[in-house]
């Protein structure tokens, strides 16, 4: 918790750096103060600001499950200033963590339902937390289908996790890449197209999607075609953020702030906002 000063990060140490893809790394960081580490609590889908002191902060979803007390996991694509610096970090380096921020996936409301997870590229990160949370509370949820697409096989994150997910009861994992590639034995095609091909039933199902804006846009259309209602579709948004607590102004869509009122929205909620989402 950041206490009474929402701008104050918690000091943390990089425990492990995992290379996911040529431009994506996963960082496991542990909060330095043992007491804070014990009490730091968050819900699946919540985000945090990672600080590299001297460079700045950027927002990432916490993609370890809340039950993991030893570290918080963040998966970072090297794109801008902060992420480039993050990619230079090694075990033992100091970072700041400010969070948890924002809302979370409606995991209570999803109980008793089948879950369809649709991820594109690094959009798998938030869904990873939700998937792990569901696996830990397996009896509360029905069938789980994960459709995870990337541009190429090299761009796929969490490769080590996939065999484990596939071995779970009532979990189906469908992987796809945009174009055929040597050695690739899974599906080929863009996420929305593959989604229409596998045509999951909307009955008693909640679809949760995260990925690049253009993928989300066409995925929403595909889900609509398949008969999913606006209340059955959940997504988590990205915006440029600074404060993370609804003060600095930039991440608004209409009167809502993605950092504070989101990042998780149902399609029904998004449709009530001005059309500035994608």
């Amino acid at each position: 918790m950041t206490g009474s000063n929402p701008f104050l990060p918690i000091l943390a140490t990089v425990q492990e750096v995992i290379e996911e893809t040529p431009n994506i790394k996963t960082f496991r960081v542990s909060l330095d103060d043992p007491e804070v580490r014990e009490t730091f609590d968050f819900k699946p889908g919540q985000v945090a600001q990672l600080s590299v002191f001297g460079v700045g902060e950027a927002t990432f979803v916490i993609n370890s499950p809340p039950s993991e007390r030893d570290y918080l996991q963040f998966t970072v694509m090297r794109v801008g200033e902060v992420t480039t610096k993050l990619h230079e970090l090694r075990t033992g380096d100091k970072v700041g963590v400010r969070g948890p921020l924002g809302n979370w996936f409606p995991y209570e409301e999803m109980k008793g339902k089948d879950v369809l997870l649709i991820a594109g590229g690094i959009g798998m990160a938030p869904l990873r937390t939700l998937l792990l949370f569901i696996l830990e509370n397996r009896a509360d949820y029905g069938r789980v289908t994960l459709l995870y697409g990337c541009r190429t096989p090299q761009d796929m994150c969490f490769k080590g996790d996939i065999p484990h997910w596939r071995s779970q009861r009532d979990v189906e994992v469908i992987l796809t890449v945009d174009r055929r590639a040597p050695g690739w034995t899974e599906m080929v095609g863009l996420v929305p197209e593959v989604l229409k091909e596998i045509a999951p039933s909307p009955k008693g199902t909640v679809a949760v999607t995260c990925g690049p804006p253009v993928m989300i846009k066409y995925t929403l259309e595909a889900l609509k075609e398949l008969g999913f209602g606006d209340e059955q579709i959940v997504t988590t948004l990205e915006r440029r953020m600074k404060c993370g607590v609804g003060l600095c102004g930039r991440c608004n869509i209409g009167s809502r702030y993605v950092c504070k009122d989101g990042p998780v929205f149902t399609l029904a909620q998004l449709k009530a906002l001005p059309a500035e989402v994608f």
């Binding site: 950027a58 102004g249 994608f278």
Partner: protein
């Protein structure tokens, strides 16, 4: 509004009174300088000008254009917050109703969570004067402000022939007026103040009811918004001079001993404000950005906090290099 507790401050005694207050408060007054009237910390020799509204709103007194949020020391590897240490309360003397309302709007946003704002704002004392004449760019009555009223102030201040009448409105105001130099006002002083207030002409404002509905209807009409912002230079002076704009950026600055994390005013009128690292920008042109500014002031802010995010001070009109007039834009939305 004038009563038993009122005090009279003769013109010739104002410097003495302000000097007395400056001992107990960080006293800010409108001061005349070469380039106009600005809010300045009171000091000997300052040219106090209560007759003109300062060019800038008093926002920066509570929310500085740049401030240090925290420090990170390399050696101790510690994060230290930089909450202002000075406990002297601020006294803002001669503020107009529009500008005081502007601070109230900012407090709706920052007052809940921002310890830096709170430290300066919660103990501040305001001496407010009614507005005796509107500029031709003023439209405070459109957004529900009564320019005669010292709403939210601790003391109201009315200039009479020969001095000022000060009327405490709160406990803080009463304690402020406990200085020896102030006199008991005569009946004629009280009558003169009342007469003066009754003479102020308040312009009838445009009715903004139904504006939000029209705004949302116009939202997807990008050609309309392009037309509205055709001449806009995206210079953002409207946001920097706005008494209610609060957008900020957070950046790090490296020093020899550590890192300073700074907060700096930012503006929704800038392209990079919403630019994401991926290159995606949800508000790529000035049409979307100005639409957001209008939406924020007149729809989003009232939805979140009830008041309009605008005080009608008209600085955005007065200082716009291309005279983009928000009143005209509001009228166009009303007719949309």
């Amino acid at each position: 509004m004038v009563g038993d507790e009122a005090k009279f401050l003769p013109h010739e005694a104002i410097f003495e009174a302000l000097t007395e207050w400056a001992k107990r408060y960080s006293l800010f007054v409108p001061a005349e300088e070469e380039k106009g009237v600005f809010w300045r910390l009171f000091e000997p020799g300052i040219k106090v000008e209560l007759g003109l509204r300062p060019l800038e709103p008093p926002k920066r007194l509570f929310f500085p254009p740049t401030e240090v949020l925290l420090r990170f020391s390399y050696k101790e590897r510690q994060i230290l917050p930089e909450i202002p240490k000075d406990d002297t309360p601020l006294l803002v003397f001669g503020i107009r109703p529009c500008d005081l309302h502007g601070l109230k709007v900012l407090d709706q946003v920052l007052g809940q969570q921002d310890p830096y704002w709170k430290k300066r704002f919660v103990r501040a004392v305001f001496v407010s004067q009614p507005c005796t004449g509107a500029y031709d760019t003023c439209f405070c009555t459109w957004v529900g402000i009564n320019p005669k009223e010292a709403k939210g102030a601790d003391v109201s201040l009315v200039e009479l022939n020969g001095g000022w009448l000060l009327q405490p409105l709160t406990e803080r105001g009463r304690s402020l007026l406990e200085v020896g130099i102030l006199e008991k006002p005569s009946f004629s002083h009280l009558a003169e103040a009342q007469e003066l207030l009754s003479r102020i002409e308040v312009q009838k404002g445009e009715d903004l009811n139904g504006l939000a509905e029209n705004f949302y209807r116009s939202f997807d009409d990008l050609p309309f918004w392009r037309h509205m912002t055709f001449k806009c230079k995206a210079c953002a002076i409207c946001t920097f001079l706005c008494p209610t704009c609060f957008c900020f950026n957070i950046t790090d600055e490296k020093g020899h001993e550590g890192v300073l994390r700074l907060r700096t005013w930012d503006s929704c009128m800038f392209f990079h404000y919403t630019l994401e690292a991926s290159g995606h920008n949800p508000r790529p042109t000035k049409a979307e950005r100005y639409r957001n500014r209008i939406g924020h002031k007149f729809c989003y802010h009232p939805e979140r906090y009830t008041d309009y995010g605008c005080t009608g001070c008209g600085r955005c009109i007065k200082y716009c290099p291309v005279s983009l007039d928000v009143r005209e834009v509001l009228r166009r939305i009303k007719r949309y």
